[in-house]
């Protein structure tokens, strides 16, 4: 059984050093929950993109990691929040190639493709929260006896 320890945490995102801690925490949490290597890599990469958005566009904020379960499936939910300027046009911000910060414009749209659930909540002037969830792949169930 997994305990919440080592998975659940709230980390500040204030500098590029904090991005390293965020990635390390997500790596550790994903490993504890039993994610496979490719899923772990995708999740850490998505977290890195989103944490960088929080830092660069949101002026800093935090990441909260929680363990979630649904119908026997285990998952990891990461919530990135800032109190920055918010995103005026979400559809535009989520499109490939759109950038306001001199990057490649792949951060938000790319991170969305790397996770199972993606949810963004932004109020111009009040901040942005992005929540992503990944579920641990269930091993294939043994076939029922005929």
């Amino acid at each position: 059984m997994h305990t919440a320890a080592g998975v659940e945490a709230c980390l500040p995102i204030r500098s590029d050093m904090d991005l390293v801690w965020v990635r390390q925490h997500v790596r550790q949490a994903a490993a504890l929950l039993g994610f496979g290597l490719v899923e772990q890599t995708k999740l850490i990469t998505a977290a890195s993109e989103l944490a960088r958005n929080t830092l660069v566009h949101g002026g800093g904020g935090q990441m909260e990691a929680t363990r979630v379960s649904s119908g026997g499936a285990q998952g990891l939910r990461l919530s990135f929040s800032d109190e920055g300027p918010g995103i005026a046009d979400l559809d535009l911000a989520l499109s490939d190639g759109y950038t306001s910060g001199g990057g490649l414009g792949m951060g938000l749209s790319g991170a969305r493709r790397l996770v199972h659930e993606f949810d963004i909540d932004s109020t111009p002037g009040a901040g942005t929260t992005v929540r992503v969830t990944c579920w641990v792949a269930q091993p294939p169930r043994p076939r029922e006896e005929a």
Binding site: D16, M17, L19, V20, R23, Q24, R27, L37, V38, Q40, T41, K42, I44, T45, S48, E49, R52, D96, G103, L104, M106, G107, S109, G110, A111, R113, L114
Partner: protein, 139 residues
């Protein structure tokens, strides 16, 4: 070098010269500022030494996000402007899968599966002498 093992100091990635090639080994989790420092160091070292190749071993790198992807692409682009070729070697399969899903296919990057293969790629395609026109060598 007198150090027994070139332990990476935070903020700097060692750049080794092997003949006509600069060898860089990236390992673990890189800070953004470390990656940017490397980009600058490489441009200066290529220009100073006149090497014709840069080999970046990323077999020890667990994730490449769009930031590091962009830095790698920019290193290759600036090296090309300085008359050197860049090969990124040893990318982990999970990293390749993730990069493509992220939407970063990095078409300008030459890759090799191992450092050895990368080194072969850089040394066997050495340009014909004089093909690139006269090049001013610094002492």
């Amino acid at each position: 070098m007198s150090d027994a093992s070139p332990r990476p100091v935070p903020g700097q990635v060692p750049v080794l010269r092997l003949g006509d090639v600069l060898l860089v080994t990236l390992q673990g989790d890189l800070h953004d500022s470390t990656a940017q420092q490397l980009q600058q160091d490489l441009a200066e070292t290529i220009s100073r030494t006149g090497v014709r190749g840069v080999l970046i071993d990323i077999s020890g790198v667990e994730i490449v996000d769009s930031f590091l992807g962009r830095v790698l692409a920019e290193i290759a682009a600036q090296a090309k402007l300085l008359a050197a070729r860049t090969v990124v070697a040893g990318m982990r399969p999970a990293v390749a899968i993730t990069l493509v899903e992220l939407g970063l296919t990095l078409p300008g990057l030459s890759t090799a599966l191992s450092t050895e293969a990368g080194m072969r790629l850089l040394t066997q395609h050495s340009p014909v002498p004089g093909a690139g026109g006269p090049r001013q060598e610094s002492p």
